[in-house]
Amino acid sequence: MSMKKLVLVLLLLSSLNFLFARSFGYFVAQDGEKTSSNAYGGASFGLVLQPFQRSFLNPSLFVSLSMGTDMQSRFLLPAATMGVTIDLFRTMNHPFMFIAHNKIAYDPSVSVGMQLRFDDSTRPALYFGASPFKFSQPDFWYEFCSPFGTYSNKGWSWGVAIFRFTFLCL
């Protein structure tokens, strides 16, 4: 095989790399939310799909379901959310290497999406989120202290996810 053909084959294989990288996974988060009339604390569970491996503005899709207890200690499902997350950039040059034993990338992100809220009356809502402390390995993401807000016909609510761990399994 000539050198040109070999290079061509390697280029072709590398262009198909995304097919081999893990792109689908699940996450769990511990979070809480303050609405205009109540507050919730609990956990969120969800699925993510990250089809690309871009260094800048890398998108991923997510769906999640939050659950927890409210101020009267009643167990509730406050909301289901679907949206898109954009990793603003990914870098290995950052001051947070002490977070993990392995080398990790720093890739802060922002999210937008739609919610179906089940607290009070069932209604749609807009969802906004940010993860200023998001770190990633090839198949594992760590996120700490991620704020989020929602807007519905009942007004604004805000919350924070103390941690969110995502594992890409497929």
Partner: protein
């Protein structure tokens, strides 16, 4: 203001004692983690809390943990309490005291006291006796990082005799003194 002064004095006292420690097993780290407080709803209305503080190795098996717990939801940093615990590792030494990493998995059992405003006078004072158990500790001070999982801390309010539970799903310790880096020749 008095609460801030008390926290500041405690921190200074802690740093002072830490810097004077000279044992091979001495280590010092920063603690950050989540915390939920159950069964004391009359005083604590938090739905999500953050704990942060310092952890100090006293010997190969004993450590001192001083943490503050601040409510995040529904009131952002609207309520803060403090806990002081002496803990013992149950599966061998917690820090090898050498450049060798040693134990990477452990368990912790501890006892201590809590300071809060959870009393009839709403004054920041000694309010709780604490007993704590951590079933899984991954990492060690030698490795610079340690994770504590599913820590259960039972608290008895000495004013109301109410028993409550602190549940810490995940607590991270980041060590900056007493790690393998300090023992490298």
């Amino acid at each position: 203001m008095r609460k801030k002064i008390m926290v500041l004095l405690t921190t200074l006292l802690f740093f002072g004692s830490a810097l004077s420690a000279k044992t091979d097993y001495f280590d010092l780290g920063v603690t950050v983690g989540s915390r939920s407080h159950f069964f004391e709803r009359g005083y604590d209305t938090s739905k999500l809390s953050l704990q942060y503080g310092l952890t100090m190795g006293l010997s190969d098996v004993y450590e001192l943990d001083i943490t503050a717990t601040s409510q995040l939801v529904p009131s952002f940093f609207g309520d803060t309490s403090a806990q002081v615990l002496i803990q013992r590792s149950l599966l061998g030494f917690r820090n090898s005291g050498t450049e060798i990493a040693g134990m990477g998995f452990n368990m912790l059992l501890g006892a201590g006291v809590g300071f809060s405003t959870y009393n009839p006078y709403a004054k920041f004072s000694l309010t709780h006796l604490l007993v704590s158990f951590t079933p899984a500790v991954a990492g060690s001070p030698s490795l610079c990082k340690r994770e504590r999982l599913l820590t259960f801390t039972l608290g008895i309010n000495i004013y109301t005799q109410q028993v409550s539970l602190y549940l810490d799903i995940l607590t991270d310790d980041f060590y900056f003194l007493g790690t393998y880096k300090d023992h490298q020749r």
